[in-house]
Symmetry: C2
Subunit: 823 residues, 2 copies
Amino acid sequence: MVSSSESTSHELATRSSYPLHVVDEWWRAANYLTVGQIYLKTNPLLTAVLAPEHIKPRLLGHWGTSPALNLIYAHLNRIIVQREANVLYVAGPGHGGPAMVANAWLDGTYSELFPNVSQDAEGMAELFRQFSFPGGIPSHASPETPGSIHEGGELGYSLVHAYGAALDNPSLTVACVIGDGEAETGTLAASWHLNKFLNPQTDGVVLPILNLNGYKIANPAVLARIPEDELLALFRGYGYSPRIVSGGFDGEDPMAVHDALAAVLEQAFDDIQSIKRRARSGRSVGRPAWPMIILRTPKGWTGPRFVDGVPVEGTWRAHQVPLAEVRENPEHLALLEAWMHSYSPRELFDREGRPTPTLESIRPRGAKRMSAIPASNGGLLLRDLALPPIENRQVDVSARRGATSEATRVLGHWLADVVKANPDNFRIFGPDETASNRLDGVYEVTAKQWQGSFEPTDEHLDPEGKVIEILSENLVQGLLEGYLLSGRHGLMNSYEAFIHVVDSMFNQHAKWLESSAHVPWRRPVASFTYLLSSHVWRQDHNGFSHQDPGFLNHVVSKSAKVVRVYLPSDANSLLVTAEHCLATRDYVNVIVAGKQPAPTFLSLEEARIHGARGIGIWDWAGTERDGEDVHVVLAAAGDVPTLEAMAAVHLLRQNIPGLRVRFVNVVDLMRLQDPLEHPHGMPNNDFDAIFTTSKPVIFAFHGYPALVHQLAYRRTNHDNIHVRGFKEKGTTTTPFDMLMLNDLDRYRLAMDVIRHVPGLGERYAGLAQHFDDERARHRAFAYEHGIDSPDVLGWGWLDARPGETEEPTGDALDTGADAVLGA
Amino acid sequence: MVSSSESTSHELATRSSYPLHVVDEWWRAANYLTVGQIYLKTNPLLTAVLAPEHIKPRLLGHWGTSPALNLIYAHLNRIIVQREANVLYVAGPGHGGPAMVANAWLDGTYSELFPNVSQDAEGMAELFRQFSFPGGIPSHASPETPGSIHEGGELGYSLVHAYGAALDNPSLTVACVIGDGEAETGTLAASWHLNKFLNPQTDGVVLPILNLNGYKIANPAVLARIPEDELLALFRGYGYSPRIVSGGFDGEDPMAVHDALAAVLEQAFDDIQSIKRRARSGRSVGRPAWPMIILRTPKGWTGPRFVDGVPVEGTWRAHQVPLAEVRENPEHLALLEAWMHSYSPRELFDREGRPTPTLESIRPRGAKRMSAIPASNGGLLLRDLALPPIENRQVDVSARRGATSEATRVLGHWLADVVKANPDNFRIFGPDETASNRLDGVYEVTAKQWQGSFEPTDEHLDPEGKVIEILSENLVQGLLEGYLLSGRHGLMNSYEAFIHVVDSMFNQHAKWLESSAHVPWRRPVASFTYLLSSHVWRQDHNGFSHQDPGFLNHVVSKSAKVVRVYLPSDANSLLVTAEHCLATRDYVNVIVAGKQPAPTFLSLEEARIHGARGIGIWDWAGTERDGEDVHVVLAAAGDVPTLEAMAAVHLLRQNIPGLRVRFVNVVDLMRLQDPLEHPHGMPNNDFDAIFTTSKPVIFAFHGYPALVHQLAYRRTNHDNIHVRGFKEKGTTTTPFDMLMLNDLDRYRLAMDVIRHVPGLGERYAGLAQHFDDERARHRAFAYEHGIDSPDVLGWGWLDARPGETEEPTGDALDTGADAVLGA
């Protein structure tokens, strides 16, 4: 953005040569194109008298919100030309698709990106035909919509997307149009407070424009029906400087609205410039009261005022298709024709259907067009993330396996390296849990960005910083989405149980990525990576409500092209996984990792190999012998399940010396799935080689057992897979004994082995009983003392160094040597 | 509530005899009990000098929020006694568990409900021991907490629960304490606007008390760091009359805060009384500016001010356990002892550990105690819902099967009957979609409740009405939860795709119900019933973002004791399902039903039988013959899949006359699951009898195919089940052709039959090709004309009357008669 004092004479000339009647022309053209999309199959320029055969057989689309979206677009064009501003337009109201498409077509962008929709009569006909039509485009903004980083489907995320895009984009202004419907959603209501985080010096600006058209689908909107003093108080309370523009009601001349809106927009951009100038000059501006605009216009403005004797313009009846029976009802047909002619299309398009020279000459050029601004197609701007060596942060296990570390704390130190190496395009977001999730190593190099007031006791708070924390999973999710879609990198951390708060936002983002892959001009963006900690198995003082591993189930329901799930077993495995995920594009990566002190099993080198394979046999942890069939496969996915499964092997080795147990660890969960279903799916031969085709498999799983069955149900040996995972049990009031209540503990796993390996059950009934008694003893200990018994807490895998495969000792099972029970 | 003019001399006496030093005593007692829960294993009354062995081995819990929760409880007790008010206390801040438990113990309620936690020294010791202890209670409010309808786990739902409980409860005041952390969440930020719905005459009152203690886990809270003018403007903007009480900082005497808070609370209750009195007198009060209180106190007030040289009280360091090393560090131990003694326990408890006579005598009695108010254990108040006969609203199919109806529209008319029959304890909630989901028949008998301003064009809006609509799935979910948990009935309707917005709220409610079943004194409440419409298969102008059937997957991950899923095939089946669901207790019922015109297959009588079984063979729809094995089972779950599967049978019957197809319809999805997993699970023998043990099963499913496999993977014939359902395909830009893109269409199902029935594949290769060509033709038709071809649209099941089983015609397959291709 160029401040006014720097304006050249050219710009001033442009400014003076952009009269409001030209804005009105643009607006009429966009409105005409919007109506055309909803109604017309042919005859786009109304060169013939409108007849039923020109009309689409099914009328679908949303008129109500469109005229205001068009109005704002037209006015922002003027601002852009006048000020050489970089403006990203986020269209929040639902189903504003036809408006955004209309403006992109007027911009010329649409025809550049979709050559079959040329900027002439033929292209206009195709523009109209394809809208809400089989094989065409939907009635809401979508990845196919030029200039959009925002889907106008599920409502409420526009403002948070706008703030995410503005971060670290100091020359960008994000004009965010918010519908009065979506303003009722939780995420939007909370998003207003994001002005407490934006740094006026290093970030861009968000200009919220709340459009009060009065109605949702079938109801008045809350914010449209409160007195003006409450409305203004609300936005002052949110910390903005609100300005109201109201007009267009009861047939009021639009020029009055143009005058008012232009003045308010100019004032807003002047104020923004002035704040930015002061901030850039190094003078502290504290948290400025950024402008926001309340634009009150009739729903479906310029559409039919009355239809069949009832008011339509300015009511909820204008929400979708104001004239519903155009093919059948001559009166409706005549009303439509009059409506479209009211925009005077002959003044707007030439005979060939091209926008007139006036419209063509006054619009922004190239990347200044809101439909073509690179920030709306972030992959164009994406720079590779510099990834510092994870070697610097590895946990040393060269002395022995099992060195204690807190996995996420180790990761936090590496993330600090990443922040340092990528000072302007990498951010970490969290719902007040970044320190709780033990990623606070990042505060060695950066801070939590904050524009609220400061207290002497504050720590790691700064007006500029690469971590943003606010207690709303929705907000941090939306910020990261906006940040990624505008071409940057990042990571979100959260507690596992409450990540379901963003299930639907995840859905929408995953669907956006899936769809974007089919849009040739959309460039790949950095993946959305979740780090979920404080996970289901370690809820030290939290009850049943905090125990939920179901986000994994939710994630795998989405397109296999997009979703990736990782369950690293230890700190080194987590480092490898995070390094991989942050380098990927167009995925959603979910990593679940513990924060509590836990053994580190793999050297970094081993973790790299294991991570590349995604699944593998850990020779050193099992009791296999070369050339002999195993009796059982013990598999684990997740850090706590891995620990318990390894402890189970230990118990079995002590007590059934000849038992040949294969130990399998899964870090990339999607390896379990059929390769026809997921690109990471392991070929059946490989799967069979690891899991055998006939031996019992005891699977210790981080999540709900059904998920393993869902992923592996087509595998040869599936009927032999017995999964221990999390069960929904409301009696689990506190969690020390959760492993036991859920039967995912070393004793139960060992008992499962005895139960399922043919021949063991009877022979080792006494041992199984002993294990059950041990469980009861450990549980009783915890109930009495409030901590786990030292046997359980103190267990570690101390046997082998990395690289050494320990030779199992003892006789083979079939030699008949009986087990020695007890310790 | 008794208005002051009606006060008796007894009440005035009570008021004057409730001095603030008694409030302070209660507060100190509750604080003492809170600290005790966090730290002490034994020595509850500090009768011995505090020693490490008295301290729990692991210190878990949250002190920070507790003193303010206790303060408010103590003051509300005074209000209740003074005014004989009915107050429900909703504790929003996270992990306020020990405070709520402490007050319930002081009330006597805790010992009544949990006799092992008696109101004496022994009981106090148990109260302390069990907290955040294995086998004990969690550190947040939970179903085990007397007086709570709200879990202090996942944050943000307190205020919406409060509003839900207040609806239709005109004598209730819900005091809702909101933490400044949870205030940052989306749901809470949106909840403030619920004052636009509460009717001052027919509903109760919500008194929000926002506690600004300044910090979340590790960060300052946004609302605590904005200037006071913004804070007040914000709440005036939300439509409240805010009052601030601030104090307790830097060692300020609590009595000053007691004075101020008592005055503000009295004023608030006076204002509430005055508004209610005016409303009851019939004078219009419009939308009153209800009082709300902002209470600014230090986090962890009265706790240690400095520990190890750094400030704790009033900072985020007071969030959990302010003194972390009490067993190891004598200085910490001494600080704890001094801290606990600062409350002067000898003034609060007698030698036996009982609250002193002062504390005992001044507290509210019986059901007036906030820990015992019946609204917090809604099952106590629950009256059976009067269910008018669905017969009155059935679709008549006596002439022939297939009569066209819009299922949800039919339901809407019956819901009107339900509203009429239950004028004060049944409500319908929706996110602006009740009319869109075609339930607007209810507006024949009621309206949408609304306290905003009115316009002449408004329809079905009224200050009193049984439907509440606001564009936030979170708010409507939370309102219904609050309404149900306080003892009433209701239904929520929503679009299927966006119901994921409330995934996490559903989780929490399902977990609440699961846990409540283990709490003997919790009485069953009415089930939470979702009606999901505008479902995945009919998204006429909406794109990929609107297509998501995954809520079913999410729901089945929760406890089988709680969740029920129904996919009625038509309008009559929907009536039967809804009637059943509304009569149930303690479940979450999910019903998915279409709103578009569709055939009605079952008579009401048949639908009743089918609904009772949950799954069944439709003889009349298949081509089985008595005594002969079927060749294939064609199963369907969901309305669109049922229609397509029946059309597939029709195609097959026309073309392969001897083919014996069994037609199975599933309305209760959980019938598919193993009976060991779900109480509705069908016994294996029955399942085998329906699905055979060896024949191919082609399953047309409403949702993601993996869900059927997940539920049925243990069934004998599972390997032969081939599911067609929804696939994530981003190219599905518009939906007319969605069935075809997703391969859930009649032709594909018929082709599947040919492919999987042994012997058919080669013999009917030509027919399969013909079906494939037909698919292509129909798709091309839709792409060209924008509507489905008349063959597809016009198909109907017109063959048989209910009760008649049509005899299949044509030769048996094995007679060798060739099919006649084409029409």
